[in-house]
């Protein structure tokens, strides 16, 4: 399993799977903020973004991610002030320039984006900016790996750890995992050759019956990671439990602002929120894909979920199980 969405992107973009012997299959991991940010937080984001007087700043790729029944692009088209920024520091600048407005930054992602987001909050605190807050949905890689490894249906035999995450966090927190679950973990980069080399190192370990943490991406990742960046994370954040889309709630798997910085927590500033309407959860694609259930056993099948308005991946692609059932086996 490659952990990082960036690695998945490279694998698909360069078609790397086709170069591999058929004994090796790649399972795409949880390292994509778009995939794992829970629908409840997305709904909160949209509720905040729709308020008058709020400027909601986000990385561009979060704008198309659907919440229960809309996305941030829709909020924007209805008049919400939603802006794409490339750094939390840009959002901070918006806050400095618009003191009469509330600026909220959508702080999503893994250990990679956490230091910069922490820095923005730290800076706002130092400057005494009262109109800046962040909606936090930060998650951590090792607890998710542990959730996968301890799952009854786990089929992952080796990991390509996320190079950029490790450039911050270093290698040490992966060693207990490798040891406990007897699984090779290779810190890997993002170029096609990086990924192929990471796979090779993984396979060599498996063949030798070893399970160590190795570093393929040594040109970027140091064993100790980046201590000043980690210091910034611990200054501003604390480890909390988080819900992951597709994985459920995992204890101590994410970051939230620590009490010193509660004033910058958008959830506290703008909550309480409308209760989450559960109808976004109807898709049972996980069970469909593993053959546990048939499409017709899904309550949304053919009604709320059709190829024109899919609720999940199997109804989208022409080869998807639900789409095939819908086309050939309705009635």
């Amino acid at each position: 399993m490659e952990i990082c969405g960036g690695q998945t992107h490279s694998i698909v973009r360069f078609g790397l799977e086709e170069l591999l012997p058929k004994e090796i299959s790649l399972v795409h991991g949880p390292g994509c903020p778009v995939c794992v940010t829970p629908v409840e937080i997305l709904d909160e984001a949209m509720e905040i973004a729709a308020r008058p007087g709020v400027v909601f700043c986000s990385f561009g790729d979060m704008l198309r991610v659907p919440g229960t029944d809309q996305d941030l692009f829709s909020v924007k088209s209805m008049g919400g002030d939603v802006r794409i920024v490339y750094s939390p520091m840009d959002a901070l600048q918006v806050a400095r320039e618009n003191t009469e407005k509330e600026i909220v930054f959508f702080a999503v992602g893994f250990e990679t984006t956490a230091p910069a987001n922490a820095m923005a909050v730290y800076q706002a605190h130092r400057e005494g900016l009262k109109n800046f807050s962040i909606l936090v949905s930060h998650v951590l890689v090792p607890p998710a790996m542990e959730a996968i490894l301890s799952s009854a249906t786990n089929r992952v035999q080796g990991f390509l750890a996320a190079g950029h995450v490790c450039s911050i966090m270093g290698l040490d927190e992966y060693r207990p995992l490798a040891l406990r679950y007897k699984v090779p973990i290779v810190v890997t980069g993002f170029e096609p050759v990086d990924i192929l080399e990471g796979l090779l190192l993984c396979v060599k370990q498996l063949e030798a019956g070893r399970f160590a943490v190795e570093n393929q991406y040594a040109r970027v990742v140091r064993t100790e990671g980046n201590p000043p960046a980690r210091h910034m994370i611990t200054e501003v954040f604390e480890v909390v439990s988080r819900k992951w889309r597709g994985l459920g709630e995992i204890s101590r798997s994410g970051l939230g602002l620590n009490p010193t910085y509660y004033a910058y927590d958008a959830e506290k500033k703008f909550g309480p929120f409308l209760p989450h309407a559960a109808h976004g959860q109807e898709c049972i694609s996980g069970e469909i894909l593993t053959g546990v259930k048939k499409p017709r056993q899904c309550p949304a099948f053919g009604g709320k979920c059709t190829p024109e308005h899919p609720l999940g991946a199997p109804m989208v692609s022409g080869e998807g199980a639900c789409a095939a059932y819908y086309r050939y086996q309705r009635g």
Partner: protein
């Protein structure tokens, strides 16, 4: 300790949530030149306006009038900022329409210009834009013969929007459009890609590179005319604007019902553009250009075509990047740098808003 959520009881269920498909209001992506734009046009405009010229789905319409074949095209410009490295909205407004006509094989005959100006817009800036338009028009020898001016309340526009339309005379005995593409045709691109989009974004985001990346905005009629004069059997021309190379290839593949295969290693990209795109998370093949086009013609004429193109500054970087086939009708495939083939799908919304 691990607490298992509901999803964990059965199995891990990791996959990207599906983007919302049906929109009951216009989104920025509907203007991005990708799938959303296509859906909008197909669902609202095509059924209501349906006619033969429109259904050809080309950059401009071609029809007969008084024994002449006339090309007609229009385009609106909402670029932000109005002034950017290497040009301004005025260059885009003239060259954009001139290029749409050129892609029909037509010599531009006359342009119109419509200005929607926001109250309070500096007279000096308007003059500068008009001067640019005048210079761009005389460069290709096309007069701006009619126009319109409207002013909207302060805050209801964005400084300045321009619409231009143009008519031209088709200067070849055949139709240049996707229906003429044939299996075995070569695909040639006129130069390196992505400069316009990156130039705009760099200004907008305050990004600085070692050298300033300038727009590639320029007229294409000169180089197209040379190709036609040389008697080459040009099957299709398409300028690469919003949606970049990816959108242009997908549109022509879909309209022609043929497949197009390109090789990533052959697609010309400047290192600075590539670096900027990597930093911004953009695919350079989907980034906008304003002075680039692709050309489809029989393989045995490809060398000759590139030789002619390279004599003109607008075609100096001419490169053959692929070929037309019929294995996978309507699809574009790309051979990646490591030699594996994948589908190059139409961009869905837009990578960058308000680029032209």
């Amino acid at each position: 300790m691990i607490v298992r959520g509901e999803a964990m009881e059965n199995e891990i269920n990791l996959q990207c949530p599906v983007p919302i498909q049906g929109h009951d209001r216009i989104q920025m992506g509907h203007g991005g030149g990708g799938k959303l734009s296509q859906q909008l046009i197909e669902s609202i405009f095509v059924p209501l306006f349906s006619n033969a010229a429109l259904l050809a789905r080309h950059d401009g319409a071609v029809f007969e009038a008084g024994g002449q074949r006339i090309a007609f095209s229009t385009d609106s410009y909402v670029v932000r900022p109005l002034f950017f490295p290497g040009g301004n909205i005025g260059d885009l407004a003239v060259n954009g329409t001139v290029n749409d006509l050129a892609m029909c094989g037509a010599r531009p005959l006359a342009l119109s210009a419509g200005f929607i100006i926001e109250e309070g817009f500096p007279m000096e800036s308007l003059k500068k834009v008009a001067e640019t338009m005048s210079a761009a028009a005389s460069r290709v020898g096309v007069p701006i013969v009619t126009g319109d001016t409207k002013v909207v309340d302060k805050g209801k526009g964005d400084g300045l929007y321009i619409n231009t339309a143009g008519i031209g005379i088709v200067e070849c005995g055949f139709t240049v459009d996707p229906s003429r593409m044939r299996e075995g045709d070569s695909v040639i691109v006129s130069g390196d890609l992505g400069r316009h989009g990156v130039a705009i974004l760099a200004v907008r985001e305050g990004l600085q590179f070692e050298t300033v990346i300038q727009t590639d905005c320029q007229p294409l009629w000169g180089v197209v005319q040379s190709l036609l004069k040389a008697g080459l059997e040009i099957h299709c021309l398409r300028d690469l604007t919003r949606g970049g190379l990816t959108a242009a290839l997908n549109e022509t593949a879909q309209t022609s019902g043929l497949s197009i295969h390109v090789e990533e290693a052959k697609i010309p990209l400047r290192e600075d553009v590539k670096g900027a795109c990597e930093m911004l998370g953009l695919d350079p093949l989907g980034v906008a250009n304003e002075g680039r086009f692709i050309l489809f013609l029989p393989a045995h004429q490809a060398e000759k075509a590139m030789e002619i193109m390279r004599r003109d500054s607008a075609g100096a970087g001419a490169t053959m990047i692929g070929r037309v086939g019929k294995e996978r009708p309507g699809l574009v495939t790309i051979q990646s740098l490591v030699g594996v083939e994948r589908i190059l799908d139409m961009p869905s919304g837009e990578q960058l808003p308000r680029i032209c």
